[in-house]
Structures are given as structure tokens and as C-alpha cells.
């Protein structure tokens, strides 16, 4: 079976896969990085979003063999080594950006990709960017507020 080596959250990691193994499966089952969630497995829901070579992708719609040699960032690499949350994660907690939490890894990874491209997005830009991330609990307002807050914007004003 092919062996895939990736630099995941700054550490080189390898795992054996089949050609048909999806990146999401390799991360979760091969490398035990279960923070990346599989919601729909049909590339609709975005719970499995990770960054591959710096851009957001749905890891359930990419083959693990395609990621051989790539730099991959997952939700596990977002907090500091001491466990303190990064600014986006903290904002999700502060602004009630999650209820059940299942979609949150993908939401945080998409938010982080957005803020890298567009550090001060408008509310509409946040909503547009989250088109491929589905949340069934929050109604999105808390998530949008969290991302606006993480970008350093005043949420009360931005939400008007």
C-alpha cells in the first residue's frame, strides 16, 4: 500500500493508505487526528475543511495520495501548545459560535482561510465565504459574529 507523508501542523507524519483513501479518512483513522469531522461525506457540509498547502479544501473530496508531500493544517494545530485557544477559537467561545460543535472544526478552518485572504471582511463577505460550511444549530449569527470579532471588528456595529 502507498505510504503518504505530510507535514501536519508543523510535524512530519506518515501513514499507509489505499489509493482510494480520502484525506479525511487518512487523518482520522490513519493518524488519529479526529478533530477533522466527516459530516456528509458528499462535499456539502464543510465539517472536514483543512488547509492543504495554505488553502482550504474539503478533505473528504481529496485523495490522501494527492496530499503526499503537502503541508496540511488541521484544527488540532490551531491552539497554542499550552492549550490556549487562538483568536478565532476564542471568539467562537465568546460569541456563542457553536452549540453541538460538530461543524466547528470546519468553521474555524474556513474562518482562518478567510481572514488570511481578507483580514477585515464585511458581514456579507463572511456569510458568502461560509457558503460551503453548514451548521444545523446556531442559525449562523453567532458564527458570523465570532469571525467579525476575531477580525478585530466591533460586532454590535457590524451586525446592524
Amino acid at each position: 500500500m502507498p505510504n503518504v507523508t505530510m507535514t501536519i501542523n508543523g510535524r512530519e507524519m506518515s501513514t499507509e493508505v489505499e489509493n482510494r483513501t480520502l484525506l479525511s479518512t487518512a487523518l482520522r483513522e490513519g493518524l488519529k487526528l479526529t478533530g477533522t469531522h466527516i459530516g456528509c461525506d458528499t462535499s456539502q457540509c464543510g465539517a472536514c475543511v483543512v488547509h492543504v498547502d495554505g488553502v482550504a479544501v474539503k478533505s473528504c473530496s481529496m485523495l490522501a495520495v494527492e496530499a503526499d508531500g503537502a503541508t496540511v493544517d488541521t484544527i488540532e494545530g490551531q491552539a497554542s501548545p499550552d492549550g490556549s485557544l487562538n483568536v478565532i477559537q476564542q471568539a467562537f467561545q465568546d460569541h456563542h459560535g457553536l452549540q453541538c460543535g460538530f461543524c466547528t472544526p470546519g468553521m474555524v478552518m474556513s474562518a482562518s482561510a478567510l481572514l488570511k485572504e481578507n483580514p477585515k471582511p464585511t458581514e456579507q463577505e463572511v456569510r458568502d465565504y461560509l457558503e460551503g460550511n453548514i451548521c444545523r444549530c446556531t442559525g449562523y449569527q453567532g458564527i458570523v459574529n465570532a469571525i467579525l470579532a476575531a477580525s478585530g471588528q466591533d460586532v454590535a456595529i457590524a451586525a446592524e
Binding site: 502507498p2 489505499e18 489509493n19 482510494r20 480520502l22 461525506d41 458528499t42 462535499s43 464543510g46 475543511v49 488553502v55 482550504a56 479544501v57 474539503k58 473530496s61 481529496m62 485523495l63 495520495v65 494527492e66 474556513s110 482561510a113 478567510l114 465565504y129 457558503e131 460551503g132 460550511n133
Partner: protein
């Protein structure tokens, strides 16, 4: 999904060789093919990934005013790199699927699949683009042969797509909100020698040119010129999202909006 052989060539020549094996299937970004394989609606014996072919990635302009887009260029790259030279094409690419899909999906993959509701076929047909493969050049007018059908041979690879850049162009997409495909999409492009109007999402035959609108706009490039036209005839898609008559009506509405957005 069923297992398969996998290769990731780095040159067009190696990709062409790999495609000669029995049951080989080219893999672009996999945003359609992988979900299809998961449902076992496709089960190729081998996949030839084109994402590692560096010469097939990127956007460049030639002296004749054409924009060439490599077959393995992602939607996000087209949205970024064509923004100055062909804004209507960049805007179309920037509104396909969602951001994560746009980072993987490729123009060659979209055109090779020829989904009847995909956006890129409208841009290619509406621009009179040339589909360039490892063996030949195919005019867009000859390329799209039906729903999910193209003039490509089984082992043929789209290496690039050449778009003549128009004087003005605009794409209007009426989103099907769940799938983010076009319920109907209309691409209007005005060239020195005439106007082209290409419609996606509406017909069971796949993307098509609305010739009555092209003739009317050729004489008078204004929304008023097309407002008197009846709906295009043809075999319209009917499904739970919209009747054939509704789609035909949308074609007229979106064509007028596209012409207005071009300043006509």
C-alpha cells in the same frame, strides 16, 4: 468507492502515456469525480491526476488579445489571475461552488465533465473559446455535444483553454441554492464582429447558444433589443426546482441583466 490504480505525472507527455492504459480516467480537482465514485456511479480502473502537471497550471495573455488558461488551473486561480484581463471570466470562476471547492476544482475538469448546469461551459461557448488538447484544438461550437458529452476522445486531455477577450462580457447566474450550480446561467460577450449568448442550466442538450438573441444584440446591443424576443425554443430541463417554461423565462431575464451589466 472501489479501489483503482493511481498515478500523478509531472509532464503532459507522461500524462498522455498514463492515459493509454485500459480504463484510465483523468482526474482534475476531483470535486465531481470523487463524489461520483463514492456513490459508485463511476469506477475507473485507474486515475491519472493532472494536478502535478505544472505546465497545465496558470493564466497568461498572448499578443493577439487571447487569454490562455491551463487545463489544471483551479477556479480560485482563475478568479485571481484573470481578474484584470478578463473580469467576466474571473467573476464566473469566483462564484462556482464554495471557496474550498474552488481551491480544488479545475477548468479542464469542468469542461471535460460538461455538466448541463455548470458555469464554465457557458463561458467557453459564449467566448468562442478553443479547447486545446494533447492532440488538437477544438472550437467550443464543436466541443459541447450533449449533456455530459463532449468531442473529447477517451484518452484525450484538455491542456489549456484559449479565450478571445471580448470588448464587454457578463455572466448572470441564477443559483440553485442547495447545489450552487446554475438553475440557469447566461453568458453574454460582445466582440467586434458580433455578440455571443450562451445559456447553461436550462437545456437537456447542455449548454447552447441563443441565436435569436445574438442576432438582435448584434444590431442593437441593449436590453430592449432582447425584451421583445420569445423564450428560446428547445428541450428545457424540467425538475422539482423549476419547470421548463420557468427556465425558458429566466433565460430572457438573465440575458437582459447581463446586457445591462455590460453597459448595453
Amino acid at each position: 468507492m472501489y479501489n483503482f490504480e493511481f498515478s500523478k505525472p509531472e509532464t503532459i507527455q507522461d500524462a498522455v502515456e498514463a492515459m493509454k492504459s485500459d480504463g484510465a480516467q483523468a482526474l482534475g480537482g476531483g470535486q465531481t469525480l470523487l463524489p461520483t465514485m463514492k456513490q459508485r456511479l463511476a469506477s475507473p480502473e485507474s486515475l491519472v491526476s493532472l494536478c502535478g502537471v505544472a505546465e497545465m497550471v496558470g493564466v497568461c495573455e498572448d499578443d493577439a488579445g487571447n487569454l490562455s488558461v491551463g487545463g489544471a488551473t483551479s477556479h480560485a486561480q482563475v478568479a485571481d489571475q484573470a481578474a484584470k484581463s478578463y473580469p467576466a471570466l474571473a467573476a464566473l470562476a469566483a462564484n462556482i461552488g464554495d471557496p474550498a471547492v474552488r481551491n480544488r476544482g479545475t477548468i479542464g475538469g469542468s469542461l471535460a465533465n460538461n455538466d448541463p448546469a455548470a458555469c464554465y461551459p457557458a463561458a467557453a461557448l459564449g467566448s468562442g473559446a478553443s479547447i486545446i488538447t494533447n492532440t488538437r484544438e477544438i472550437a467550443a461550437d464543436d466541443y459541447f455535444t450533449g449533456m455530459f458529452e463532449t468531442a473529447l476522445a477517451e484518452d484525450e486531455i484538455i491542456t489549456s483553454v484559449r479565450f478571445p477577450v471580448p470588448q464587454a462580457a457578463n455572466y448572470q447566474k441564477f443559483d440553485q441554492p442547495a447545489s450552487r450550480f446554475a438553475l440557469v446561467g447566461v453568458f453574454v460577450a460582445k466582440y467586434a464582429d458580433g455578440v455571443r449568448v450562451a445559456v447553461t442550466g436550462a437545456s437537456n442538450g447542455g449548454v447552447f447558444r441563443w441565436s435569436e438573441a445574438e442576432a438582435a444584440l448584434g444590431g442593437d446591443f441593449s436590453a430592449a433589443a432582447v425584451s421583445g424576443l420569445g423564450a428560446p425554443s428547445g428541450d428545457m430541463i424540467e425538475d422539482l426546482h423549476g419547470s421548463g417554461a420557468y427556465r425558458a423565462h429566466l433565460v430572457g431575464v438573465l440575458t437582459r441583466r447581463a446586457v445591462e451589466a455590460c453597459g448595453g
